[in-house]
């Protein structure tokens, strides 16, 4: 069983990306032998009100049961609590808020209130460090990358918050993990899509130092080809239990925590 916790539907504003429809994503899941994907509506991350994409996302997922919607919540907009409640009532595995794309201070009051609300609602909060390599972004795409300091501040903001952080590299993971108490670190999960394999062996190192239990399978598709996350696991000498943990069990544990 393999769950991709980090996937998108819909067009990207800064360049042409193939395979953004629900049907195309399901084909990609088949190709990469992925059973299920947690999906966010990509265009709405760039909208003034990103929650306007949530209805389309829910509709798309109804037709493709392997796709699990991760709706967006914008804590700077009135009625945001309703968007969070809708996500919980719909059984979403997480909600997403990428504060810098929304023009929010990533560790400011709005995000801290959202963190507390997600903690109280028992739903993980997902956010990305980046969506694209900073060296290749469109000249007008100037949104800063999420900082490790912001993630540390968020996890400290509420004792019940669970964070799912995507697109982080080794240095970022280490800075947050070892800059947090064990209790705080145990409430953060990291997707593997941006972590290097051999010969640098960043993923192997992190699995040994941070722990297998902290990592979940994610791809960032269709912005990135999903084969990358599959290949880096295939290059490791992991036990069946470890592969299952990263592939799906850790994600399920996150939901059950």
């Amino acid at each position: 069983m393999r769950i991709d916790v980090n996937a998108f539907l819909g067009a990207y504003p800064w360049r042409k990306v193939p395979g953004t429809s629900p049907e195309a994503l399901v084909k990609a899941l088949d190709r990469a032998e992925i059973d299920e994907a947690w999906v966010t509506h990509l265009p709405s991350l760039f909208w003034r009100d990103p929650t306007e994409g949530n209805a389309w996302l829910a509709s798309a997922a109804r037709d493709e049961p392997r796709l699990k919607p991760v709706p967006v919540v914008h804590p700077g907009l009135a009625q945001w609590e309703q968007a969070l409640a809708d996500a919980v009532n719909a059984g979403a595995p997480a909600v997403r808020c990428d504060p810098l794309y929304l023009g929010l201070d990533p560790a400011g009051d709005d995000m801290r209130v959202l963190a507390a609300a997600c903690g109280a609602a028992r739903i993980p909060l997902m956010l990305a460090v980046r969506l694209e390599d900073g060296r290749q972004r469109h000249p007008n795409d100037v949104v800063p990358e999420l900082s490790a300091a912001a993630v540390r501040a968020l996890i400290r903001a509420d004792a019940d918050l669970r964070l799912l952080v995507t697109h982080a590299d080794r240095g970022f993971v280490e800075e947050v993990h070892f800059g947090s108490t064990p209790e705080e670190a145990a409430r953060i999960w990291w997707d593997i899509c941006w972590i290097w394999g051999p010969p640098e062996d960043h993923l192997e190192t992190l699995l040994a130092t941070v722990g297998v239990e902290r990592f979940v399978f994610g791809t960032g598709q269709p912005l990135r080809i999903p084969e990358n996350s599959v290949a880096k696991l295939d290059l490791l000498d992991l036990t069946a239990e470890q592969l299952a943990a990263i592939g799906s069990d850790n994600a399920r544990r996150m939901l059950a925590t």
């Binding site: 290749q136 290097w196 394999g197 010969p199 062996d201 269709p222 080809i225 084969e227």
Partner: protein
């Protein structure tokens, strides 16, 4: 057969305590991926006694010697690019002659001098004379100078390639940072520039764009610092290309531009 045309190794003067682990990891991962030959370079002292992208002549000689030693230790698995700094013409020419005669099969240029600079011409003349390709470090669409390197982009490499139409140039790591679409536009009509598919970038749509811009006969497979992304691209390409086209990308294109007998099955 599978040829990795963009690999690196470290030596005992590299400023990394884990250099032997990294070298071993590359070979181990290569076995899992099925890499037949790693065509590698060593960039001087890797920053220890001169900058990575501006290596000094003594560091270049030491690094090239270390790579020759690796080539001797792994005669069927490792082949070398001789790395030179175009700012030191006499040293570069001598080093190319020395290392090619010792069995290296290509020339590696990092980012010590802009690719369209006349100082690269004597190096390219040697490449033509010895019939070896030139692997040029590229920043995909350099909009400004970046610290630590005098990076070139595809437009500058294509200027050089037009001056030396008989030399095969390898545009390094299309997924290695920067705007790859800019590079693909630049190389489209320059038949002697080959696109190296390596780099940490695994963008959706990038490989389709490479095929469309350069055609399968000008694509070369490699890994650089991220072998997982290389393997991922290979897997994805298998869904885009037929078996004969895959053979071109995996090894046949490399066989065509490297010297005869550079690879075991050649």
């Amino acid at each position: 057969m599978l040829v990795d045309i963009h690999a690196h190794f470290y030596h005992d003067r590299a400023p990394r305590a884990d250099r032997e682990e990294r070298n071993a990891s590359r070979l181990t991962a290569g076995e899992k991926i099925g890499i037949t030959v790693h065509v590698a370079s060593i960039l001087g002292s890797w920053g220890r006694t001169s900058p990575i992208y501006f290596p000094s002549p003594p560091d270049l000689t030491y690094g090239n010697d270390a790579l020759l030693a690796l080539q001797r230790a792994h005669p069927t698995r490792i082949r070398g690019y001789v790395c030179v700094n175009p700012n030191y013409t006499t040293h570069a020419r001598a080093e190319i002659a020395r290392c090619l005669s010792a069995g290296m099969i290509g020339i590696k240029l990092a980012a010590s001098r802009r690719a369209d600079d006349p100082l690269l011409d004597p190096i390219c003349a040697l490449a033509q004379q010895h019939r070896v390709p030139v692997l040029q470090h590229i920043w995909q669409h350099r909009r400004r100078d970046w610290p630590g390197q005098e990076a070139s982009d595809a437009s500058e490499l294509c200027t050089l390639a037009r001056r030396h139409p008989e030399v095969a140039f390898i545009l390094a790591h299309i997924g290695g940072g920067g705007d790859w679409l800019h590079s693909l536009h630049a190389v489209r009509d320059v038949a002697n520039v080959y696109v190296d598919l390596c780099g940490s970038g695994v963008d959706g749509g990038m490989l389709e764009a490479c095929v469309e811009a350069a055609g399968v006969s000008r694509l070369l497979w490699g890994t650089d610092l991220t072998m997982c992304t290389g393997w991922a691209k290979l897997r994805y390409l298998e869904t885009l290309l037929n078996k004969d086209e895959m053979a071109l990308v995996r090894w046949k294109n490399a066989v065509r531009i490297f010297p005869p007998n550079a690879f075991p099955a050649d």
